[in-house]
Amino acid sequence: MFSKGNMFLADMDEMVKRAREILKKGPLPSMVDWATAFSLWPVHLMTSCCGCEIGAAWGPRFDNERYGSLPWVSPRQTNLIIVEGTVTRKMGCSVRITWEQMPYPKFAIAMGVCALDGGLFYNSYNIIRPWQVIPIDIYIPGCPPRPEAVARSIVELQRKIREEGVASGWLADGERQDLKNIIPKEDLCSWRGEDVDLSTRYS
């Protein structure tokens, strides 16, 4: 690409291809996965009553912060979303917007039976499942799950990231493969009656 005495404009396609090759082999992928696994910061999006357990799980008694995980307020600086229980139809749009704002590589944990398949609100007219809204990596059953279960889900997610190379895989591929089963964002936010631009410069 470079030769002595001449200067060429960088061929971007070539550069991206080479960067991806570097990201696919050698020590770099495992370093990316290691770094991501120990900096899982969940955004605080409390959709329902499971959020109380989140408070306990990151409190001094159960202390999930020892896994390198810190609840944060802004979706722009987080890479994990914990759906804390029931998601109503109106809230589904907010969940999706929050998820779209997070930078890659990002992960999602669905917490509580409500987030699995409705739970207490099975057959209700006003809920949707979080897996219809965002791609979910880990499910935690329970109503509400114990804080230990939340801690375990963080550990399981770390294991998944490091063993399957999820974080570096996404960086290398540049896109996610598991988006096909979720509701299109136009349908999800159509009740707002306006065009919602959910694309951000990060996604």
């Binding site: 109503t88 099975y122 057959n123 007219y125 006003n126 219809q132 509701i183 999800l188 159509s190």
Partner: protein, 174 residues
Amino acid sequence: MSTSAQGIVERLRSILGLTPEAPVEQLKGYVEVSVDPASLRDAAAKLKAAGFDHVKSVTAVDYPDKKQIKVIYHASSMLDESLSGYVVGLATSVDRDNPTVPSLSGIWVSAEFQEREMYEFFGVNFEGHPDLRPLLLTPDLAAQRPLRKDFKVVEEDDYLKSTYEEYTSTKRWV
């Protein structure tokens, strides 16, 4: 001023100008007064002037057989100690097919959001409400009036499905 149950009934009769035979329901700490939709605003203004300074809840009951919807305002008092032990239900019955009630959000501010809820769940129109939009539901769902008795909930299947397609086919999308 007497604070016994009988006392509050007497007081309400004098506040609202009701005759002794007027329908006054009595539960423990709860008095329900039924008025016409036309005189609802007057009655609310009189109650407010007499010391009932906030609305605890606004609710509605659907009577499909009588073809009526009953809207109830639960008013109580924060400031007057002799009234704060009681909740007064100011009830009015309207036609089920076209329920129109004058909005009391101008008199009791705390009624504003709850009237929006009654609007989306029962389809009750509140005349003179400053901002009558669905509060908790999406507009397509609010159009179906989900808390009326004749709303049919779509039942989901109880059994696990073997394939993802079969499973999602029983789940409703937005």
